[in-house]
Symmetry: D3
Amino acid sequence: MTHGHAPATPRSTLVITAHAGDFVWRAGGAIALAASRGEKVTIACLTYGERGESAKAWREGKKLEEIKAIRRQEAEKAADTLGAEVVFFDAGDYPLLPTPELTDRLVAVYRATRPDAVLTHPLEDPYNGDHPAAARMALDARVLAQAIGYPADGEIIGAPPVFFFEPHQPEMCGFTPEVLLDITDVWETKRKAMECLAAQRHLWDYYTDLAVRRGVQLKRNAGPNLGLPHRTYAEAYMRPYPQVTGELA
Amino acid sequence: MTHGHAPATPRSTLVITAHAGDFVWRAGGAIALAASRGEKVTIACLTYGERGESAKAWREGKKLEEIKAIRRQEAEKAADTLGAEVVFFDAGDYPLLPTPELTDRLVAVYRATRPDAVLTHPLEDPYNGDHPAAARMALDARVLAQAIGYPADGEIIGAPPVFFFEPHQPEMCGFTPEVLLDITDVWETKRKAMECLAAQRHLWDYYTDLAVRRGVQLKRNAGPNLGLPHRTYAEAYMRPYPQVTGELA
Amino acid sequence: MTHGHAPATPRSTLVITAHAGDFVWRAGGAIALAASRGEKVTIACLTYGERGESAKAWREGKKLEEIKAIRRQEAEKAADTLGAEVVFFDAGDYPLLPTPELTDRLVAVYRATRPDAVLTHPLEDPYNGDHPAAARMALDARVLAQAIGYPADGEIIGAPPVFFFEPHQPEMCGFTPEVLLDITDVWETKRKAMECLAAQRHLWDYYTDLAVRRGVQLKRNAGPNLGLPHRTYAEAYMRPYPQVTGELA
Amino acid sequence: MTHGHAPATPRSTLVITAHAGDFVWRAGGAIALAASRGEKVTIACLTYGERGESAKAWREGKKLEEIKAIRRQEAEKAADTLGAEVVFFDAGDYPLLPTPELTDRLVAVYRATRPDAVLTHPLEDPYNGDHPAAARMALDARVLAQAIGYPADGEIIGAPPVFFFEPHQPEMCGFTPEVLLDITDVWETKRKAMECLAAQRHLWDYYTDLAVRRGVQLKRNAGPNLGLPHRTYAEAYMRPYPQVTGELA
Amino acid sequence: MTHGHAPATPRSTLVITAHAGDFVWRAGGAIALAASRGEKVTIACLTYGERGESAKAWREGKKLEEIKAIRRQEAEKAADTLGAEVVFFDAGDYPLLPTPELTDRLVAVYRATRPDAVLTHPLEDPYNGDHPAAARMALDARVLAQAIGYPADGEIIGAPPVFFFEPHQPEMCGFTPEVLLDITDVWETKRKAMECLAAQRHLWDYYTDLAVRRGVQLKRNAGPNLGLPHRTYAEAYMRPYPQVTGELA
Amino acid sequence: MTHGHAPATPRSTLVITAHAGDFVWRAGGAIALAASRGEKVTIACLTYGERGESAKAWREGKKLEEIKAIRRQEAEKAADTLGAEVVFFDAGDYPLLPTPELTDRLVAVYRATRPDAVLTHPLEDPYNGDHPAAARMALDARVLAQAIGYPADGEIIGAPPVFFFEPHQPEMCGFTPEVLLDITDVWETKRKAMECLAAQRHLWDYYTDLAVRRGVQLKRNAGPNLGLPHRTYAEAYMRPYPQVTGELA
């Protein structure tokens, strides 16, 4: 008996983020890993992060549309590097305001992609209200997409597991690593994708260090860890829903 | 790369409980499942539950040693049914008092069994202080067994994942299902093991109902759940340490 | 001195729920108990649960209005069985969107019914956003109804105690039983009311088992429990506000 | 059917405290209230608070035994004023060390007094480790006293409800008022009992103010509060176990 | 190196409250203290508290506009007494509904006042939904005001520390004193400001008692507290963001 | 009026740790900072970390006493580098068992050093039981040292603020940065002290990265952060007791 997905079609992963860069820093490893297994990964990016995450461009005097275009280009290149497809909602950031319409558009994405796993922000972030707003809609849409009575195209879906990826200041967001994902095999790809985000160069090393630190923790939590390389890279996730499994491991 | 265990030897599971019946009601499915895969399961039972969990025998006027013998016999039969080996510490219950000596004996068991997974009580239980006492020693011993400097026989171990099984009144013990284990395939075995515990006949149906209820929740959390039978049985667990994995599922 | 209600008029209970079936599964015992004492019980049902809780009807190809009519009929029959009056808001479910207008209509119900106790959903439910939405409005309206400055018909009310009833997956909603209500005397009535909900036949036994399990816990928490029958049925509740009392019991 | 106590014998309340003064400041109202109803109240006082709560006497140069005698006398006078009996364990304070022997002595008190309600400290107090130590033993003994297999004189007891009384710095001890007890009718008695504790004169007004403040909160949480006097006095309590009841009020 | 503010201009404090009286009861000491040091304090008052906090005026038959005028006058007099400037948004209370427009107006206030410290309500208050609504907008606006891409007049600001002041029923709002501010030196000023609020005369003593109680706690947490006067007055605050400092004290 | 320390004598800081290396990795910056201001810093080191934190030495075949000597030497050199004095209790690690005798010895240290600030481990650490054991005794001794009735040499102390330093896996220990201490000015000294711990070379860069990461967070939480250098180093702390202050900053 298998758990969590049907064997026939390739697995599908849906990543829902507030801003253009989020999927790279926080889930780039998970995306590259899934893609490297031939699985399908779709990124629903609610905004370009044009106001809240583009300080450098604003300081250089760039205009709104220009900034959106740059962020879009960078994100597409990074998604391409990771092996994923990115969809932009252009909903406007800072603040990203949750609406029934946006949630409804996300329901359509759920029914179209039929995800086996969903990745999004945690529900708390005192440094950036857009992140919880995106997460809230991501979770609401996931529930609605399961209901046969909800009027949207496509067939209803099952209840895919959800993973919250790590925010910039984890301890301030109630973030505790509940899953440590080994991304060593795709580390070079993640690093390359980060380097597509030229405007945030100062974060390249920051998130490399984080991956090393999470890798150290992975090794401290990994049974007899035979076969783990000296340098292990990892990403941390939380599970808002219980894991369903056929084996305790 | 594999996570959580080495491929060469059969997996080993260590179950540490306060009383003789605990492993049946709370983890019987996990034990039977592991055994059914040819894995080794060792149950370290700190007491017979002779004072705190044998009300019926005391009411019938039985004596302490007699009660211990009955509980031991029942537990051995149940362990046998599940396919596991049970070791008794006879440390005295109600109250089970944590001591460095007991913890040291548990270190020896860890180093001898080299577990890939550890199952024990949660750390809180306002209805029964023996359960947290056992869990506390189980966790302490697990850490000590990893230290090369700790003076005990056997080689040091890695850091096996720990699973807290479900207490009798979960909500009062801070217990939230974080892992739902599908035990449908071994349900009949678990039921048979429960029926070895003649003195607690009133719990047979109680824990059957619980397995059904956890099964319903498993289905509500299991993606497209194709292939899940109409009636699914499950056990719930918590993870005090992060899951280490190579795939988000 | 009496606490919590005036002696003159019969006590009044207000139940505020998201969907048509909620009051039966979750608070049927409390309702029947109050009614059996000659008290008045009013159920404010914000939606029929037509989209989110009527999967069977949708699969049978029924239309929206048809489904609403069925749900209404069933709910009225169940309310009648329990001895309560049900009022429908028809606010639309999945999602139920909180609005100032709905809250205002609830204020009017508070002032009209002048409840001595209020029953509603807990504020958290990761499986169904309509439940917290209903609870949020129920609590907001209760506060507004107490203010002489709030422009609504009727006299202002006191601060009635609030009880959150048990959700379908309690542990996932932060639900801990803080009050165990003995419903043994009205159990047959609750079962009959459940059987009015033909479309959700699979839940009849599920909620019977739950009542038994809560009954077992009631007995384990009930002092010398003399006089408690062998089989005790119970419902669990939480209190978001402190209990006001003249005796510690 | 009644809940929480048998009708035949008068109700019995057991108060377990760390130091000689605790029962007056924190539970004097509850004690006086019970006594005023003709119920029996027993106070088990584990120490005289001779080291940790008698700063004034030490500064005056008094000796240990002298201080213990003073504290004992004051406490007996206060207990007498409230209408309760006080038993001293003289276990030594600052620190009060939990031992199996002390717990066993408490089991005997439980079986002898057969309490319908138990009052003790909360389990957390970063300002005074003796309080959690006393509470921990009080709770452990309560569980052991219920077990027929536990070797102590007297018949086993049921599971009496437990109430944690309010610590000196409630917010630092995780204390949230879950029960507000109206003590207006016995307020004068509590004040008189406080005045028996001559050495802590500075606390008389402090705890009078607290009673007024809790009284204000009681009124803000008390339905239509008809009949409540202008000035209401109250004590706050927490419930570590669920309330068992036959009515939601 | 200095932390938290630039040395050149006088420090600026921004207080954001839901109703006209809040800044007096909850932060009057902090305001008077800052003013007494020659610092600038601005109070952004979102409503007059005309519906929810003016029961006496409504009972006397006053009209809405009349009540708003009274509350405004009282608040201005109190602010004047404390040495602060108050700005009224007149957004309508009970309920105060959060909107992007109100948040945007607050962003403008942030950029105009450039605060070194921000004081507002905690995010939880089950007795008054206006308080969390104000706090939520205060925090959102603070984040937006820091973003160069957010289209508002004025220069972007740094990240000023935030302090939640104490609500009326602290324990019910998750309020734990994390900062105890010594207001002894300005106590008379705070008392005078409280006495400007004639309509709430019953709160004058209530909040005097609270200041004494918090003062007692201050002394119990203040190292060798040399130099602290016999009677110390204090206000309590929480910090939602970490303190930034150059010294552990 | 000053808060937290008396002006006359130089400030004194007391650091209480489980193992020889802890004070360097976790509080080296705070220690160097205090020392650089001419303050006195005393480190009470309960064990050498000879069993639990010396894996390399054991693997090299060293003996217990040899390992203790090495750890002692390294720690003394590091303390010297930071400008502090270190005292060894040699209480035996892995497990470090809390005893009344050890606590009593700590009381003596408190009364001898009369600290203005106390630094120790957090109370939770699922990876190392010695850390909470040390912290528990550190806190207990601090309370006892304040009591005039506690029989130990030296005068009683006030209530110094306590700071929990950051554990190795903060998120697993409930650690949230509540205080970010700028250690940029003494960073080189801390790095040098770390390099005294030759046996744990792999941690030098690890804790350098951490200081950078905490420095980034410091800047994100530091008002207008004028004057902060491009690269800021920081250490994170928690406060189990409220901060006492004369100014909100």
